[in-house]
């Protein structure tokens, strides 16, 4: 009896103690502020040069409102084929544009240099407009023909699911695909779906899974550089990684800006209107 009473008393005491434990508290760590610049600049065949310059913010600053991070007093230099082309001019909100209305031209090599007082200067890698690969034909299926990845093999078809097969004209063009291996398929409403070229050189086709439930039937296939793909891949990983113990392997965003952050990449594209393609 004595042992039983002793046990009950102990268990009551234990539960009282356990319920009063607070397991979270602030972690005091001194993180010095780093002076780092960054730039986002995607260039297209028919667009005027435009870049957005920003700086790294303090880790404990508010996450809303990027105006504090925009840099409007930097010097942004554009180079073409290793020769200085022009200074891009600031129009506010960290945006710098070409006042000559100059646009990227295929087969020319471009890079940016950015300077700001009290900050290390940053330089992008040399980039070009990816060549447009000629499309030979397009086939639209109302059912899935190919295995897109293991995750789609046994999933049920959702209403509107279709497969878009794009065939390219020459096998020689495939050599370009290995140099510019990433593709983007978007429509105006659903945003980016980024695919990396994973098919062997024996095939000259690409298969896309699309859903025609959206009101827009126009799709854009974009050809970009590997730097572009790696940037967005690492953004996706970092944004999806959970906090705490699982985030051990979350790393930095892949950037082609030396001593800086961001992305400088060319994008070429074609539009496809699926309303004009017969369904098989």
């Amino acid at each position: 009896m004595k042992d039983f009473v002793r046990t009950i008393y102990f268990l009551i005491t234990a539960s009282v103690l356990l319920t009063n434990c607070n397991m979270t508290k602030e972690f005091d760590v001194n993180i010095p502020i780093s002076q780092v610049l960054g730039v986002y600049c995607n260039f297209y065949p028919d667009s005027v040069w435009k870049a957005q310059v920003f700086k790294l913010g303090n880790i404990t600053d508010s996450i809303y409102g990027n105006s504090l991070l925009y840099v409007d007093d930097a010097e942004v230099k554009l180079f073409c084929n290793n020769e200085f082309q022009e200074n891009l001019i600031n129009v506010g909100s960290g945006i710098y544009i070409s006042t000559n209305n100059s646009k990227p031209i295929e087969n020319k090599k471009y890079y940016l240099e950015i300077f700001k007082e009290d900050y290390p200067s940053i330089v992008s890698t040399t980039e070009t407009l990816p060549p447009l690969i000629k499309i030979d034909s397009i086939i639209l299926y109302d059912s899935l023909q190919a295995e897109f990845s293991f995750f789609y093999v046994n999933s049920k078809k959702e209403e509107g699911d279709m497969q878009l097969d794009v065939f390219f004209e020459n096998k020689e063009d495939l050599a370009i695909l290995t140099t510019y291996p990433s593709f983007l398929l978007t429509n105006g409403y659903t945003g980016w779906d980024c695919y990396k070229y994973m098919y062997s050189l024996l095939k000259n086709e690409m298969n896309f899974l699309i859903n025609n439930n959206e009101t827009s039937n126009e799709f854009q296939i974009s050809f970009t550089s590997n730097n572009f793909f790696e940037f967005y891949e690492t953004v996706s990983i970092q944004e999806n990684s959970q906090s705490g113990i699982i985030s051990y392997f979350a790393g930095n965003i892949k950037s082609n800006i030396s001593s800086g952050l961001g992305l400088f990449a060319g994008i070429n594209y074609v539009y496809i209107d699926i309303d004009t393609i017969p369904i098989r």
């Binding site: 397991m23 780093s34 990684s241 051990y248």
Partner: protein, 771 residues
């Protein structure tokens, strides 16, 4: 002068014909286990027993006193009168309540304990434990040079090595996963073991395949003449252990352990599955069977079998407009280990040992989603995804041993057939899984010699290993050299040099032993890992008459290490797992280890301190510059004291301190073009640039024993983390919603770093009865 010569001539014949008598025999304990290097002493000389517990000495005295001693046992002294060669066997009795001994070796061999340490099950049962669950692996943390991973986990790190660099053997067969409940406790039942032996350097050549340590689980052999047993009721699990004598010299030991709270939650969960809600189900079990038999005088057979599993299930059930949806996640992790060992003694000096066995580890994860529409069954949907990882090894060892008073030799060979399925994926219950198999073969030949020359003991060993996988073959020579010099009876110095290779890796981002762990073999594209270690140490026994102490320094260099690259999600794209692994890493670790152990009157205790540094270097990480290993803890201190308040009440306490482990934190924030209104991207620091807060913890335990008519009853009350230290388990950054009195609205605060702790003060109680 003439008189003296005459006396000399008279006694000379007797001197010349003085006969030497040989006294020999065996020294064992009352369990029948031979005691190696027990001390047998006369008033003129002393000898030690050999590896089979045999001693032999010669004397010309007819009447003498023979005294036999062995640490942990009562000394026996006999007075004998002999006229011819005599055999005298000794059976020593254990000293009662022998607690506080981390090193259970004779005083003369105390210096061997610098790199080899044994902890008996008596000591493990005395130490305070989390939830009252005595853990044989966690007891290793009291040894210098051994560090814990995360809180309440069984992963441990020896001299800067990863947790997969420890070879853990159960009766000579490796066991790959030693965790239950995500690392909360180990798979070993203390009541089935005599203790645990850890070797950190100077490994015998008969062992190989891991870089950092050798851990031997010393299983019990039967001894009792009648059926005995013990059952224990704890807060987490309960267990029963039986020892049954089958016939003369043949014993059967069985034990089973299981969680029991899942039996209650299972009933509750069944109700939940029929209605809305979430439920969690956690359970594990262990089963051990051991058969030992002595066939005639010269043969022994041991059969061992272990199986254990962890089951986890999380389920969410919800109803929407006439349909019911459920998401279920299940995980099952477990081991099976079995071995058959045969030992034949040709004579007192030569023996042959044959071991054959297998080990299997597998880990299965299943994710199922189902939607049942009662009104429109055509809209029923289900999804299934299953993945698993497994290893199956078949191992055979043949070993010959020879020993006499000045030479011990061991030679043999070892074969291991591995079968790895690192990842297997299935998308349909009815469809065969997709997997890739690796079947490497490992072979080794070894020889070890231990030579005693005056004050030196020189140990030279050589191990030749070969590893075959597909068309690749790796072969290496691994020297094992150690030298010990006895300066005085109580002071000795020792040094060792070792080369080791490892042919597999554990890919895990955590030390908890989670379902994320994958064992992966060395393939054609990755070279075996290599370690080279130098150690020097000095030890002294009986400092101030009752303290045994020592200090050791080590330097270890490793190469061909592997790690995950940056930017790897916890839920890996396992089909392309090799894309996420980086190889050709290097490691360097060095340190100083101190320990002291005492046993005086009613007090026993020990103290260990390690000062160490460990770095890693990969070309693809940290721009190729060296960075701290995650578990590079500069200071590591462990201490314990046990006190016998009375014969029935025993008190023990332990205190642990560790420098926080290294981690990578974000140091800046910037916006993403995909998220126009949020600065949601982080810039991270160099790998492992920051430190977690220091870890320290006090544990207490008190035991009440009472001898009843049918056995010994024990109540044990323990308190884990007695002063409720909030030891950080992980760090995260986030904002909090707070109510602003001025604006009378909720607003998001600025982001801050927060530490989360796992285990607060945890009292526990357990009951056991030994019959």
């Amino acid at each position: 002068m003439k008189k003296n010569i005459l006396i000399l001539l008279l006694i000379l014949p007797s001197i010349l014909t003085a006969q030497d008598y040989k006294i020999s025999g065996l020294v064992s304990n009352n369990s029948g286990n031979k005691l190696i290097e027990a001390n047998i002493q006369t008033n003129k000389k002393s000898v030690l027993t050999d590896k089979v517990g045999h001693y032999s000495l010669s004397t010309n005295q007819n009447k003498l006193k023979l005294s036999v001693s062995y640490i942990g046992y009562k000394t026996q002294t006999v007075s004998i009168e002999i006229n011819n060669d005599t055999t005298i066997n000794f059976i020593l009795q254990k000293k009662e309540n022998q607690i506080g001994e981390v090193q259970v070796v004779s005083e003369r061999d105390f210096e061997k304990a610098i790199s080899e340490t044994k902890i008996t099950s008596n000591i493990i049962n005395t130490l305070p434990a989390l939830g009252g669950e005595k853990d044989i692996i966690k007891a290793l943390l009291f040894i210098p040079g051994v560090q814990a991973g995360s809180e309440a986990t069984t992963g441990f790190f020896v001299r800067g090595g990863n947790s997969d660099q420890n070879l853990i053997l159960m009766d000579n067969i490796p066991i790959y996963n030693v965790s239950h409940l995500f690392g909360y406790m180990s798979v070993f039942d203390v009541d089935m073991t005599e203790g645990i032996t850890l070797i950190k350097a100077g490994y015998p050549a008969s062992y190989g395949g891991r870089l950092s340590s050798l851990v031997k689980i010393d299983l019990k052999n039967g001894k009792s003449k009648k059926t005995t047993g013990k059952f224990t009721l704890g807060l987490v699990s309960s267990k029963l252990q039986l020892e049954i004598p089958l016939k003369k010299n043949t014993y059967l030991l069985i034990s089973g352990r299981k969680t029991y709270f899942d039996l209650f939650t299972r009933y509750y969960n069944t109700s939940i599955k029929q209605n809305e809600g979430s439920n969690t189900y956690l359970s594990f079990y262990d089963f051990n069977l051991r058969l030992t038999s002595k066939l005639y005088e010269k043969n022994k057979i041991f059969f061992n079998f272990y199986t254990g599993d962890d089951k986890t299930e999380f389920a969410n059930v919800y109803k929407i407009e006439g349909s019911k949806s459920s998401d279920i996640f299940k995980n099952k992790t477990g081991n099976i280990v079995s071995s058959l060992s045969y030992k034949h003694y040709f004579n007192k000096r030569n023996s042959l040992n044959l071991v054959t066995g297998f080990t299997r580890y597998r880990n299965i994860k299943i994710s199922e989603s189902e939607m049942v529409n009662k009104t429109n069954p055509e809209k029923n949907e289900s999804e299934f995804f299953g993945e698993s990882s497994s290893i199956l090894d078949y191992k055979n060892i043949l070993k010959y041993q020879f020993s006499n008073n000045f030479l011990n030799t061991e030679a043999g060979t070892e074969f291991i057939n591995h079968n790895y399925i690192p990842f297997s994926v299935s998308y349909n219950k009815n469809v065969l899984p997709i997997y890739e198999t690796y079947k490497p073969f490992e072979f080794a030949v070894f020889v070890d010699n231990k030579l005693k020359i005056k004050k030196f003991i020189i140990n030279t060993g050589l191990r030749y290993t070969q590893y075959h996988i597909k068309k690749s073959k790796y072969n290496y020579l691994e020297p094992r050299i150690s030298v010990k010099y006895t300066i005085t009876k109580s002071i000795s110095i020792k040094g060792s040099y070792t080369i080791m290779h490892q042919y597999n890796h554990l890919l895990s981002n955590l030390s908890t032993g989670t379902p994320a762990d994958i064992w992966f073999p060395v393939t054609e594209t990755s070279s075996p890992m290599r370690a080279e270690q130098y150690t020097v140490g000095i030890s002294k026994t009986k400092l101030f008459g009752f303290i045994n102490t020592g200090v050791e320094i080590y330097y270890k260099k490793t190469s061909n290490l592997i790690d995950f690259s940056d930017n790897v999600l916890s839920d890996l794209d396992i089909v392309n797992i090799e894309d996420y692994i980086i190889t050709n890493g290097k490691g360097e670790s060095y340190g100083l280890e101190l320990f002291a152990q005492f046993n005086k009157d009613k007090y026993n205790g020990g103290f260990s301190y390690t000062l160490s540094k460990t770095d890693r270097q990969f070309e693809q990480i940290n721009d190729g510059k060296p960075y701290p290993f995650k578990y590079d803890r500069r200071h590591n201190l462990s201490s314990y004291i046990a006190y016998d308040i009375s014969k029935k009440i025993k008190l023990s306490t332990s205190w642990t301190y560790m420098t926080g482990y290294a981690l990578t934190l974000p140091i800046g924030r910037y916006y993403s073009p995909a998220s126009e209104n949020e600065a949601s991207l982080f810039l991270y620091s160099n790998r492992n640039q920051f430190r977690m807060p220091s870890y320290h913890r006090l544990d207490l335990a008190i035991k009440f024993e009472k001898q009843k008519a049918r056995g010994l009853r024990t109540w044990e009350i323990s308190i884990y983390n007695a002063y409720n230290r909030q030891n950080a388990f992980f760090i995260e950054i986030h904002s909090e919603f707070r109510y602003n009195d001025k604006t009378q609205d909720f607003e998001l605060s600025k982001p801050k770093f927060w530490q989360r702790s796992l285990l607060p003060i945890i009292p526990s109680i357990s009951y056991s009865f030994k019959f």
